[in-house]
Symmetry: C2
Subunit: 273 residues, 2 copies
């Protein structure tokens, strides 16, 4: 999917919501356990309930890996259930030497046909570049994450006051551009978004942490929105586990709708729709 196509979807759906598909067997409604593949049934119902309200789905690969080989089948079947106009993100946080990264890229882009993969940038250029060689596919680099540990290294600062996450943004512009690179920026760091936008004004940002991790949507929009929206805001647990009984589908939809409504208002305020 191209940047322009993604922006068109955002305008059409009046939403920049990404739904994280992190299906946790211990939290899935018990009545789904009678199915052969409860995770798949759960995902399909969540997708059906939210696909008109979001522009992206982000399966967190850890939740599928932990199910062993069956998990990869579930992941594939889940992807097949996602309409093709919706951007897909393999939240895998991969990154290895070039030779190995090219296999990870092949797995997620060719075997699974994801639109994008999240990448940990620690190993530098040759760990990221293999992901940038696929037409209309995206690498989403971790820059400033939303967890507590983000301050351990991401805020490490050089003598000129440049922080590591800023260096990651800056350096990555030598590898790709706003048409094949996005960045993970934790919503709980809305005050840092201004700095991010100075470095990558045109790029899409994937913002986790609105909801369960405490971020604030208006703050994110205030400092992060650009001419093509440039934001994908993720919610996982707040939608998936809005309820854990038989009405979970309605509860998930209600939760997604509340976010979409707020996003629609923000898009109007920004004159993008």
């Amino acid at each position: 999917m191209t940047k322009e196509q993604l922006f068109q979807e955002i305008k059409k759906k009046r939403s920049f919501l990404c739904v994280g598909l992190d299906p946790d067997l211990s939290k899935i409604p018990t009545h789904l356990m009678e199915f052969d593949d409860p995770v798949l049934e759960f995902n399909k119902r969540i997708i059906d309930a939210t696909k008109d309200l979001c522009v992206a789905y982000k399966p967190n690969i850890a939740f599928y890996e932990m199910l062993g080989s069956k998990g990869w089948d579930t992941l594939e079947k889940t992807l097949n259930h996602i309409p093709s106009n919706i951007f897909t993100i393999a939240d895998a946080k991969r990154g290895d030497i070039g030779n190995t990264s090219s296999y990870y890229a092949k797995t997620f882009f060719d075997t699974f046909n994801f639109d994008s993969v999240t990448i940990a940038p620690y190993m530098g250029a040759d760990s990221v570049e293999p992901f940038l060689k696929f037409r209309d596919k995206w690498a989403i680099l971790l820059a400033l994450t939303s967890n507590d540990g983000s301050k351990d290294f991401q805020l490490f600062e050089n003598a000129e006051g440049q922080k590591l996450f800023e260096k990651v943004l800056e350096r990555s512009k030598d590898w790709g551009d706003a048409d094949n690179l996005m960045y993970v920026i934790g919503a709980t760091k809305a005050d840092s978004l201004g700095k991010v936008r100075e470095i990558v004004p045109d790029s899409f940002l994937l913002i986790p942490g609105v909801g369960a991790q405490g971020g604030n949507l208006s703050e994110v929009v205030k400092y992060g929105i650009n001419a093509t929206c440039g934001l994908l805001v993720n919610s996982s647990r707040g939608i998936l586990y809005a309820s854990n009984d038989e009405n979970f589908v309605q509860a998930a939809r209600k939760s997604a709708l509340a976010i979409q409504s707020q996003m629609e208002q923000e898009l109007r305020n920004s004159n993008l729709i």
Copy 2:
């Protein structure tokens, strides 16, 4: 496996060789293609040919993931073929927010029963700590890798001249110790090993890059060895693809034996055996 058990194996086998199990379908001898699972057959033959010469096996997870769900079965069967006195490393380079990292840890330690997993440290404390909660299991943190891109961020330096990889070593000592943390240090950076040993004198280091990536074993030993050896030196392609015809088993063994002999000499020179 404990650190002491690993050291005993090193002394018994007079080797600190780790064999990287990176089975590339395009490089596997063609006569194996007649089997249902050529990768498994290849791995089993490589393991049988080298298990008395090495103390660790390191499957690179990318090579299994790219085979889809079948690849995870192959990985499991490969692990089952490795004798229990040999240390196993899931070269997965994972790392995510705490909740997700705990699932990755569960996958590799519980589902697969690996002894260790490689971890990208970019997301900090809570991305690593879940891996440290398993008894006699290990997290192997990327510190200074052997690829070209390592200089992009790992050498990023603060005002006091501390580089990011040194910060990673230093900071990680708050999370674990030489009994549950190891570090990846690229052998092609032997001159940095002295600095590494100042910060983590007692820890095991996993050293990739001897062979295909150009590292030198004597240099590594000179600056890196400690009282319990403290080194696992990896070779992948140099052993796996020493030959790609029907004699590949003998060629792999010959290649592993050459490294083991050199290691035995180094262990004697260091008075560890």
